[in-house]
Amino acid sequence: MNFWILQSLNGLSYGMLLFLLAAGLSLSFGLMNIVNLAHGSYFLVGAYVGLTVMERTGNFMAAVVVGAISVGILGLLMQRLLLRRLTDHLAQVLLTIGFLFILGDLSLVIWGGVPQIIPKPPLFEGPIRIMESVFPSYRLLVIGVGIVVAIFLWWLQDRTAMGANVRAAVDDEEMAGSTGINVALLMTVVFGLGAAMAALGGVVGGAFLTIFPGQDMDVLLLALVVVIIGGLGSLKGAFVAALLVGLLDNFGKALFPELALFTIFAPMAIILAIRPTGLFGRA
């Protein structure tokens, strides 16, 4: 019993982190048709920036905010100056994979190759007792952050004018443009938001997953799996899929550690076979 509760909490907290990471990727894929492989770099660079801010100020909130905003701006610029000009998938893949390598190597030069970890806020440093088991309070915080962000995004998409504009632009870009919506600007903003969220995930995750060269590639893979399972462009899909992958990964490792990758990829293959558009994707 104890085992199942603890491992579920582990999986949920990991899944929430995956949601922060993958939500932006899903949006840019589904809404803007952009294949962005540099998304993993946003996570990594955000984590490193957060680390530097944390070391300078000792303030975790500042680390989160600066990390997310700086990478958000990086995303805005990338979309505005480069990605927007490319409509061909192959060109996008080549360009963004180039960025993946460049940002990865730049991080190695700036922050070195030694693995790093962001100090946790002192309030969430210790363990918490849940019935007879012990669980890190920080991971509960991660679950909380994930839920708050999910609600915020849902509100943004479903309850605001901006969200309505985005949905209109997705359904018919030209028609939306002719009604006076500045589609280009909208896309840039959404793209930047996605990058900022990945960076937020980087800072939050950097405090318990560590940060190291090559992590950009690892998390990109997970984000792509989440997006494929959840369906392109669906926030609800990204949320459900992220929790699913988090739980699968955790229970997979706990029960069959030798099949660590299999427990993620097998469900992905099955879902693709049954529902090629993902759980919540539209055909």
Binding site: N33, F135, T210
Partner: protein, 458 residues
């Protein structure tokens, strides 16, 4: 939509391949099928030339210096450093390289009267790349000796090639037991450690000094993890202790949660974790309340190595290790090395520095014995076999018959000393060999530890 799924599907596949080809899974390839041509782009293969080579060489040796043996050529000795400079092990790889370069710099780039030219190659932690780079060092650069190597996978693929070509290969990190046991070779030396020894020392000390009788073992799921934890389990069970749980997280598993949260109650937890895995494991061990049970944590000496220890915070205090070295070791040579390294490179020397630094001394001593004539490989090998350094940073070191190091081993503990955390030795096992309390014959008859995974819990 379907088309797009296809696009990302193939991308996922590509990245999965990229990731799985990384250091996480590095099977040793068959050494015979190495690519003939050097890779088209050798990324970041740093060519380290001597820092202060004299502008012009004097045409005649100064009268005050004894002329070297008649046969020894006056050309520079070429030494290849095969190490890792990109990817997960970039930092340890640089510590290894700089350890050797520091020794050379202290000697004015001369060993036994001959100038030394160093060529550094990056193996990218990939056995096939390592082999290609070893070939490049031998065939293009004409090195006399190759040293270094972080990863056992690389050592196992480059070793046979170097030995075939009669080049001395001095391993200063890679710990796979096989390298100086089943795959032992006259031309292969190792001055770091064999994986299993650190675990054996930890078990012996804990059983006898701490009265531990039950243990949980947890090791990264690859050869090093099996051998370190296997060494612990073999000695622990041999003494009468009991292993009650074995866990093997994949290598490169930054989230230890699924494993830490199911650790059973025992007298002690023995782990092998390295790099980023170790960095997150030690805090998680405290945050999941295992440390406070109390259940002491003892592991390989990399779980709290000095490059990650300050970041592990309070959770690391009291963590124990068994290994051939501890950064806080109180020997004059270690203090000198620690200071010189910090002065020159502005960072702390780590466990990867000492063997590379000591390699410099060992090579120099062997060179002196053959009067600088490294070209006579067989004489040089004989000289290296008999080298003894009584006062290396880690203590007295020499080679055993299979060319593995015989050195003191330590049990150390993370302590706060003068405001700084460090690994401080609390017990010493002098003159420890890779066979520990067994004879070489007895040891080699036992099942290799890399095949014992999953068989310790009775």
């Amino acid at each position: 939509m379907d088309k797009r799924i296809g696009v990302i599907g193939s991308i996922v596949l590509m990245i999965a391949l990229l990731v799985s080809c990384g250091p996480g899974a590095t099977p040793a390839p068959t050494p015979t099928k190495a690519p003939v041509a050097a890779p088209t782009a050798a990324p970041k293969a740093a060519e380290a030339t001597p820092t202060a080579a004299p502008a012009a060489k004097p045409t005649t040796a100064p009268a005050s210096q004894p002329t070297p043996a008649a046969k020894a050529p006056t050309t520079p000795i070429k030494i290849g450093i095969l190490t890792t400079l990109t990817g997960v092990f970039a930092a340890p790889g640089a510590d290894l390289r700089d350890g050797f370069l520091l020794y050379l710099a202290e000697k004015g780039n001369k060993l036994a009267g001959r100038e030394v030219q160093v060529i550094v190659e990056d193996d990218e932690v990939k056995p096939d790349v390592g082999l290609t780079k070893a070939k490049k060092l031998v065939e293009r650069d004409g090195v006399n000796l190759v040293l270094g190597v972080i990863s056992s996978g690389v050592a196992l693929s480059a070793g046979p090639y170097l030995a075939q070509n009669k080049k001395v290969f001095l391993i200063t990190n890679a710990g796979a037991d096989d390298l100086t046991q089943k795959a032992a070779n006259p031309y292969i030396f190792r001055n770091s450690f064999a994986n299993s020894t650190g675990g054996m020392v930890a078990a012996d000390w804990g059983y006898k000094q701490k009265g531990w009788r039950t243990a949980v073992i947890l090791g990264s799921d690859y050869a090093a993890g099996w051998e370190w934890t296997g060494g612990f389990a073999r000695v622990f069970t041999d003494l009468g202790g009991k292993i009650i749980q074995e866990l093997y997280p994949p290598l490169g598993n930054p989230d230890p949660a699924p494993f830490v949260s199911q650790l059973q109650k025992a007298d002690v937890t023995y782990v092998f974790q390295a790099g980023a895995d170790a960095l997150s494991f030690v805090p998680a061990y405290a945050q999941y309340g295992v440390k406070a049970r109390p259940q002491p944590l003892i592991g390989n000496y990399g779980i709290t190595d000095l490059s990650i220890l300050p970041k592990q915070g309070e959770a690391a205090l009291g963590v124990l290790q068994g290994g051939p070295f501890a950064e806080g070791l109180d020997t004059p040579a270690n203090k000198a090395l620690t200071k010189a390294f910090k002065d020159k490179y502005n960072r702390d020397a780590t466990i990867f520095t000492e063997p590379a630094y000591t390699a410099g001394r060992m090579i120099e001593k062997a060179l002196e014995a053959v009067k600088g004539n490294i070209e006579d490989t067989d004489a040089f090998v004989k000289a290296l076999e008999t080298v003894e350094i009584p006062d290396a940073p880690r203590g007295a070191v020499k080679f055993d018959k299979l060319h593995n190091i015989v050195s003191p081993f330590y049990v150390s503990e993370v302590q706060r000393v003068g405001g700084q955390v460090n690994n401080m030795a609390i017990a010493t096992y002098p003159n420890t060999t890779q066979f520990f309390k067994w004879t070489p014959e007895e040891w080699l008859k036992m099942t290799p530890l890399s095949e014992m995974k999953g068989k310790w819990v009775k």
